[in-house]
Symmetry: C2
Subunit: 450 residues, 2 copies
């Protein structure tokens, strides 16, 4: 067990009662020792009015921290009652530039400038405005401006003095960056070196001259991959002239990773919007209906295929429709998922399309032959007759090989044309394979059974 | 773009040629400036003999760093040629305790003690042996012993002096922990405070007295959730007496998170082992075959259901078999995926089973009624007749409602009995829903059509 605070439904009800009856000192007493993330979790569960009242009992620095941790939608609801100057002074003024920019970016277009104009610290306003110019999901949009940097010509003594000054404004010192007079990033100075070197040594003699950096326009998922690969807690962001523009810390990247994994998972399972189990029935149904309907279109098309081959001529073929459809779907989804994962993790060396397809041909053939042999014996043993058994077996090999190749090809193709390959996994592949699998099955059946 | 090194297939071929012809100084020249993670990526792609030769050109400190970054399987192959003392002295001796313990834990049972006996630094050997006692995937197994701690009674001056000493052995100082004479964890001292406080202040006056910690037996995924929730870069690990035992850094937790997401994704897509697209055909087929075969068992059982209801009596019902099966499958997988995601992210407040099922009943009914209306009109318009249209529509509502409830219930039940609920998503739910969906469809058909 950890010493994380356990929040219970009973505690929530108790708080609601206190808020309802305006027993605010009692509310404060119960939450003041909680972590901002825990208070945010409570507000996420309360209705907006109660949430607002709860926030009002907290000191400003704390309520700003809590607001950062809130669910986006809850925050937007809360903000409807805040004036631009309240947002600028009470909240933005208390935050790091990256959090501040994220929160401002969520506001309705017309309020953004209004809030920026109300920020009292001009330097902060300029920094936030700069961060807002970067495209979403790039390193520039993810970075914070707060960092500790020293000049390569300084001595360690001056570094420590300057760092004390800079550190006043910064929550946590992660890495000390070394730059030249043009703010060009040269390397890093480890805190360990700083602690263990004589104060008269110049920085240029002790800094580490190589540092992995990303550019302001590097994709957020790429930033995550690089930080994970090199085990980085913080990564510097530079512009095209290699000038130090900001830094990204791992917690922001964790959120990117988790969102990405969640999105892939949701796509694989046929959810078209980012939903959570605690959303309401209408939102959930709206997120789920599109794929279900697409699956149904597939089902209707499948019915046309079966009708086209006139099932009444050989009704016993109906028996293996589920087998053919399910197997094609399963194999296709496996292939597609492997492609999606390898595209996400692949660093330098990449197999060519031909090599990938050739391998999946091998896997498909091997799997197909094994499955076909099994089903031949089983269906024959169940007394379905030789013709049906041979039809199902041949169809199964063909369907599996097709599904393996198709499942590999589609996500690769989507990736080529810059569509997220993860959309291919799940219902799309299953549905297409259903239809084509049935075509193959009945096509072979017509030849063998008639 | 980032300034990450780009590794190309051509570069790999060139290195292979150099290794083949024993042009080792040329190899060294080409790789010595690369990051350990990049060199590891190269070795992962080489055959074992070449990989071993490449490692041999690196200085010991560097080759140890590279070995940590290797793929588990590649490392195990390499180690076959290493003696226990080589592993202990050249590799383990150069590593942090957590990496050292991880690598030793992978060794065959009989070599573990042999390697431990060969470690020259007794203190390190004891630390590693202690780490090895913790169960896999717990905080204890994940943590490292290297950390910087200070006593609450020290003055800031002494802290800095002691930290210099401790830091000598530690790669990176993340957080300074404050303990009492019994090594009980009291809080943390921020580097910022240390930089900005007079050297004569006692630690007890400036340290932060509250810190989120985990216990040695906290589950790794739980550690990841907590670090993400509280935006932590490093978290202290304590024993049952709240004594400071070690710390876990975010990079190790990132790997846990990525593995977890990958595993869930693979399960949802029917891969039964952790495989990558670059594994060979046999390994890939072995990972894929189990689910395909389970899907086939489902297919065979489905054929029994269809046979049981004697399809020859109403062969036109075959037309909508794919529709019923696909829709049931899709809806079930959606429900299950939502449960899996909510179980993973849920902190304090949890809905009761009844509330969850009730909500899914709502979603199922709404989705079912919409889908059934659509399919009634479509199938009637396509001229399939009133009886079939009404059969399909009623069956569809029933199948969707059943699938939604079943898809919610199964992962919740698995979670209750401590089985990873993610196994429910994907082929398992699809297959079960296929069979039960057909039963419902033909059951209703028998009543209406005959």
């Amino acid at each position: 067990m950890s010493n994380e605070i356990k929040l219970t439904p009973a505690f929530l009800e108790y708080l609601e009662e206190c808020l309802e009856q305006n027993r605010l000192p009692e509310v404060l007493q119960n939450i003041e020792d909680l972590h901002a993330a825990d208070i945010a979790e409570i507000i996420d569960r309360l209705d907006v009015e109660h949430g607002r009242r709860l926030l009002s009992v907290l000191p400003k620095t704390r309520s700003a921290d809590v607001i950062v941790e809130l669910d986006d939608e809850v925050r937007q609801l809360l903000f409807e009652e805040y004036s631009a100057s309240e947002i600028a002074l009470d909240i933005i003024g208390e935050l790091d530039s990256d959090d501040a920019a994220d929160i401002i970016a969520e506001l309705p277009e017309e309020r953004i400038q209004e809030v920026l104009d109300n920020i009292s610290d001009e330097h902060q306003a300029r920094e936030i405005a700069e961060l807002l110019t970067h495209e979403e999901d790039t390193a520039g949009a993810l970075m914070a401006k707060e960092l500790v940097k020293v000049n390569k010509d300084w001595k360690v003594m001056r570094c420590v003095r300057e760092m004390r000054k800079q550190a006043e404004e910064i929550e946590q010192v992660h890495t000390v960056y070394v730059v030249d007079d043009d703010n060009e990033l040269l390397g890093t100075l480890s805190l360990k070196k700083l602690l263990t070197t004589s104060t008269k040594t110049p920085v240029s003699e002790v800094y580490h001259p190589s540092v992995v950096s990303v550019n302001t326009d590097t994709d957020a998922e790429e930033v995550a991959r690089i930080m994970r690969k090199y085990d980085l807690v913080v990564i510097p962001v530079v512009n095209e002239k290699n000038q130090l523009m900001g830094r990204i810390t791992i917690d922001d990247v964790l959120d990117v990773m988790a969102e990405e994994a969640g999105r892939d998972y949701q796509m694989a399972s046929g959810l078209t919007q980012d939903v959570e189990a605690r959303d309401n029935v209408i939102i959930l149904t709206k997120a789920r209906l599109p794929w279900v309907l697409i699956g149904m279109i597939g089902g209707v098309l499948s019915s046309r295929v079966i009708d086209f081959f006139d099932i009444t001529l050989f009704p016993e073929m109906a028996l293996f429709i589920p087998l053919i459809a399910a197997t094609g779907g399963n194999v296709g989804v496996q292939s597609a998922a492997l492609v999606v994962q390898s595209l996400a993790s692949e660093g330098g060396f990449k197999d060519t399309l031909g090599k990938k397809l050739l391998k999946d041909l091998g896997v498909g053939l091997l799997t197909g032959v094994i499955c076909a042999s099994v089903i031949f014996l089983v269906s024959y043993a169940m007394g379905y007759g030789y013709n049906l058994a041979i039809t199902v077996s041949i169809a199964l090999i063909s369907v599996i090989v097709f599904a393996a190749l198709f499942g590999t090809f589609i996500p690769l193709m989507l990736n080529k044309i810059n569509v997220d390959p993860a959309v291919a996994v799940g219902p799309f592949i299953t549905t297409t394979n259903d239809i084509i699998g049935l075509f193959i099955y009945f096509g072979i059946g017509r030849i063998i059974m008639m």
